[in-house]
């Protein structure tokens, strides 16, 4: 059933008793052409684009828990394409373009809301880095504006310009950046994939990968063995665990990242803003909660929860940026497990095992990448060669010394 105001009206007359499930709840078949491990945003997007762009049908997405229970369900919903390095820029811009038409494409309102992403700078060096980044965007026609302190004040007069430790000198604004209702992205892709024949299977945990003669032949799951011709790993946060079933060791550590939401408020802040003198960024959801976050807790973790020091660290920065936050209350914190790669950039590549593909290492930037990640991963799986905008995300870049290190931190995952 196509979703629209008309279907909604029609159903309201029948007391909403006739809505069909948004997706089927199929049992796994004994064999698929392609199995995707991980029913999160990237996995579902991959299935969707495999079906839609490449006409492939015999596909299963296996999710060990409930649909979207990974990082697609626990992020801070920001989308942007304001990257620094040549290897990243075109990829994230493709993602942004996909976001811009996504809802009509998969017939699900994910509330893609382009209210702008503003990164504040507090030193000349930061402004220089923003200039480099902004020009790297503009050179490819991506929107970017460098604001001075006056222009920032026009947008957000209640930020601390009077008594700050690190004065706001300006900011880099991408007006097309914004937020998306994160759960709805998973649901929209799931529905879109399901409608195109993909089996989205929840509660099906992959427990082993069957390899014969260096080639993937299937998986062992909590719901039995399933054969496949191609196996696509897409389990960010847990990529190392899943890859180890195929004997692979990855340049990845798992770290916990906390995020927070405040009590609901009437409009307080319009766009997304990141503080440049501490770890803090904030936006406001359509429902009214201030959604905010900061840095990793710093230690390797698979626990989806954090500790108080990072809460303080983030909130101190928040109040430094916006003193009026002080009397607003933090409602809830949560934690997600991040695939922190050794250079802070993702991996979309084939592996040394024939038929085994890897999509991993998204650090805490995976949400905004969701459509492009699915699009490029689908391309790789279908054609066995990387999509042109994802050529920098090869696994051999570490060995070859071609790392993609946006922050210049080196092989220390918790600093990216």
């Amino acid at each position: 059933m196509k979703y629209s105001i008309f279907s909604l009206l029609r159903n309201s007359f029948s007391g909403h008793k006739n809505w069909q499930p948004a997706w089927r709840n199929p049992d796994p078949k004994p064999e698929y052409d392609i199995i995707i491990v991980g029913g999160g945003g990237h996995g579902l997007a991959t299935a969707y684009y495999l079906a839609k762009e490449h006409g492939l049908k015999n596909i299963a997405v296996l999710e060990k828990s409930w649909l979207g229970s990974g990082n697609i369900g626990r992020n801070t919903t920001i989308i942007r394409s304001n990257y620094l390095l040549p290897g990243n820029n075109p990829f994230y811009e493709l993602s942004m373009k996909l976001w811009e038409g996504l809802e009509q494409d998969f017939n699900f309102n994910a509330m893609v809301s382009q209210r702008g992403v503003l990164n504040l700078c507090h030193t000349d060096a930061q402004r220089d880095a923003f200039a480099r980044r902004g020009n790297g965007m503009r050179i490819d026609g991506v929107d970017a504006e460098l604001l001075d302190a006056h222009a920032v004040r026009e947008m957000y007069p209640y930020f601390d310009f009077e008594n700050p430790r690190f004065p706001i000198k300006g900011g880099l604004l991408q007006r097309r950046g914004g937020t998306v209702r994160h759960d709805a992205v998973a649901w929209g892709f799931a529905r879109g994939a399901d409608m195109r024949g993909v089996d989205v299977i929840q509660g099906c945990e992959v427990q082993g990968i069957d390899i014969e003669n260096g080639k993937v032949v299937g998986v062992q799951t909590s719901r039995g063995a399933i054969k496949c011709k191609k196996l696509a790993l897409c389990a960010a946060g847990h990529s190392s665990e899943v890859a180890s079933m195929a004997g692979l060791k990855l340049p990845i550590e798992s770290h916990v990242l906390q995020a927070f939401v405040s009590e609901g408020l009437k409009p307080f802040i319009d766009g997304v803003v990141t503080f440049g003198a501490g770890h803090f960024y904030v936006s406001q959801s359509d429902k009214g909660g201030l959604v905010f976050g900061g840095d990793l807790d710093g230690y390797n973790s698979y626990a989806r929860r954090g500790n108080l020091p990072m809460v303080e660290h983030v909130v101190e920065a928040g109040v430094a940026m916006i003193p009026a936050l002080s009397r607003i209350r933090t409602l809830r914190s949560w934690g997600g497990v991040m695939d922190m790669s050794m250079d802070g950039s993702p991996i979309i590549d084939k592996t040394s095992v024939h038929g085994l593909y890897l999509n991993a290492g998204w650090c805490y930037g995976g949400f905004k990448a969701t459509p492009a990640s699915g699009f490029c991963y689908a391309h790789l799986i279908a054609k066995d060669e990387p999509h042109e905008v994802a050529t920098a995300y090869r696994l051999d870049r570490f060995r070859r010394g071609l790392v993609l290190d946006e922050k210049g931190q080196g092989a220390t995952p918790n600093l990216h």
Binding site: S4, S7, L8, S12, G15, H16, K17, P21, N89, G101, F108, A110, M111, S113, Q114, D128, A131, R132, R133, G134, N135, R138, Y158, D160, R165, F166, D183, S262, E263, G264, K266, P267, F268, D286, G288, A303, N307, L308, E312, V315, E316, V319, A320, P323, A324, L325, S326, R327, R329, T330, L331, S333, W334, R400, G401, D405, K407, G408, G410, A411
Partner: protein, 959 residues
Amino acid sequence: MTGFRIANGGLIDRSTNLTFKFDGKSFKGHQGDTLASALIASGVHLMGRSFKYHRPRGVISAGASEPNALVELREGPRKEANTRATMVELYDGLIATSQNRWPSLENDFLAINSLASSIFVAGFYYKTFMWPKTFWEKIYEPLIRKAAGLGTASKEADPDTYEKSYAHCDLLVIGSGPSGLMAARTAARSGARVILADEGSALGGSLLFENEEIDGTNGLSFAQTIIAELASLPNVTLMPRTTIFGWFDGNIFGGLERVNDHVAVPPAFEPRQRYWRIHAKRAVLAAGAEERPLVFGGNDVPGVMLASAMRHYANRYGAAAGKSIAVFTNNNSARRTVGDMKDHGINIAAVIDTRKNGKIINVKGGKGVKSIDLSDGSHFECDAVAMSGGWSPIVNLMCHRGAKPIWNEIIAAFMPPDVGPQFRAIGSASGKMLLSECLNSGIVAGTLKGKTPPTPKCKDEAFAIQPFWWVKESTSKAFIDYQNDATAKDLPLANREGYGHVELAKRYTTTGMATDQGKLGNVNAIAILAEAAGKSISEMGTTTFRPMYTPVSFGAFAGPFTGHHFQPVRKTPLHDWAIEQGAVFVETGLWMRSSWFPKAGEDWLASASREVKATRAGVGLCDVSTLGKIDIQGKDAGAFLDKIYCNTFSTLAIGKARYGLMLREDGVVFDDGTTSRLADDHYLMTTTTANAARVMSHIEFCHQALWPELDVQYVSVTEQWAQMAIAGPKSRATLQKLVDGLTLNDETTPYLAAKDITILGGLTARLFRISFSGEHAYELAVPADHGNMVARAIMQAGQEFEIVPYGVEALSMMRIEKGHVAGGELNGTTTAGDLGLGKMMSTKKDFIGRMMATREGMVDPARQCVVGIRPVDRTMKIRSGGHLLKQSDRPSMANDQGYICSVAWSPMLDMWLGLALLSNGRARHGEVVKVFDGLRGHHYLAEICDPVHFDPENRRLHA
């Protein structure tokens, strides 16, 4: 009873009269009231509007779980949105305003949403608002955002202060009801360090309002006796008004103490709130149990409230919820409400027990209860309804580290999980429904050593419940999540549409996502969802409990670290001197550095240019104290430095300095600086200002984890020394006037000399002949307490050469003129080769980063390396961040050749120039490239050149 104020009893002080305002109207209350109780006593039930339908709502609870009675408390910069009226202690002059309504609480225009509620079902917005595409941002979303949200936050800075503090104890008791008091007393009497925390304004928990008899006395005086004893013990800390909001790793608890929320303005020197990190060897959860609403039509009409809340208001605050009350229950705890109300002379219109005589189908009344319709067709007039759907142990804290609660059929509630001996639940928080069990469990938990003392005698009231989840016959809306307007019908709908997992249903219907985080509604939601899905409640399970148990202000978490105190300020030993010289300071990490020293009428550029010219013509003095300085000693100090630096230091002569470059293990440049050898076993390393702390950690790691066998000791001496660069052709003559018994010349003090000297008649100092400016220059270090004095002396000595102080702007101009790399180039992605320092990498030894630096991508000739850049039009200003293109290429990332890292106005060459990273740049000196600066609408041609723009032969250095 006058109005709704019961004549006597309770814990309010009727001799006080407090005046307060709600929505502009004046009311009176007493000391000891909450805002909610004072309004109820004034006959006011309508206190808020719901989120989606803007339905009129009244208070439903008497505590922190309140979803409806949220107000904007106070005004101006102290305004707090979404404040629970049930938790606000009344003070004279209190001002509260209802929220999420327009134009008024009585007449809310958006109540029109209720009419469209047949469309506004769970998840409706996912199905619409998609066409036309552009309408979402322009029309739909702005309307939705305006209508959504609850209270309005102030945008002014908070005038109050906040504090943070740590606390330590043997036993933390969370909750001060019967079980908590017993646990605290038992542990305290055995000498343990005890903290007793309670969210309420007074200690005592349910004993503050329930009629109990313990040890032959009433429950309240029993509690007061224990509290008095605890207060007298030095090993006990009582913390009323303190919410324990989270349980974290290491048995650390987060607490929020509302130090001064019960007064209009905090007294001078006192914080509004204090955030606690409590390190508890053991803790007990004695938070009690939360009464559940029943789910029936109109269960949100103002005047419908929890049965226990109703007696809480009557017994503790002397506030009657109505004059004629109906009681609706599925368990026998509500019997207490019946008895207590009768005792207060309040009429009981009907008692409806789902186990006996049916159900309430609908509550009639808009802004207040008028009557109820029962399932047997009968009809009763009443002005309030007390409901009790059972009791849920408050398990939240015990689930904050991932454990899930366990469904118990007997009490029809989720029980706390076993999380080990460090943290146990007691009393009704552990599902104990008899008072004697609660007292006993407290005593057992409080017995940290020795024999368990006897349990006080008390009268128990038997508890029994028959779960009852939803009056399906109701024709009006039956609410699950009051604030978010999630109704009972939304959950089967979610299940029907595939969102049947409890976590998906939560997200799809928003049940449990309001400010009360499902404290009241979640169990009802789970039960109804389970039924729709054909599962047991146990199979359905709960959503995840997460901090905060109740919301915590940003201010408390930030504590005193706001505004100018966000991070500590680090000042150099020359700070006072710099102020005397008129310095403008700039934040460099935590340091305040002097940036330029303007004379009247000069801007930064004029000032810095003058400083450069004066320095290059005569002499200048610059504060370089912020450079990291690490004292490295030990017999293996040289061998150790050989591991840390890519070049060699073990061969450095005593009394000499050498420029060193260190890499990360991945082969990328980490830091640079000049390191000197002071003795055979003694080196002094300098680092960049930015990396000083990281280099220290790196050294500690390399020694302790990689090469502990090396005999090397290191300590930061950054703060011990005030360090000054004295640069320019007259630097030697200037310094000569200060030094004791040493003639400065190329024999005694050659380029790269490093020596201990004395100055000004015996003051210890270190002299280095090194230069960042490209001039004949020195760095002089003196113990920090003498820094200002020595800087003044140098200024005095240099007066005849027209000495100037110069700041980091001038320093930056001079280093760019000289092509010296700094932060813009040492950006964590460049190799030694990129910086033109590839030859520094020794091939004769192992060092950090050696192997990884040999990878193909790291030595690719096409890599971007440092070049000089200047505009072809010499009058043009250039800026950092412009990208470089071949002249023939169109702008695109694919054609990108590099970018400009650092620029400066060159006072010596009279033009803007810079350093850039350019693909294969060393082979391209002389090439003209296109600079793309689209960000600033600036595109121009620039010439690539050697990075050393000024004095390429380094004549001045050796002059």
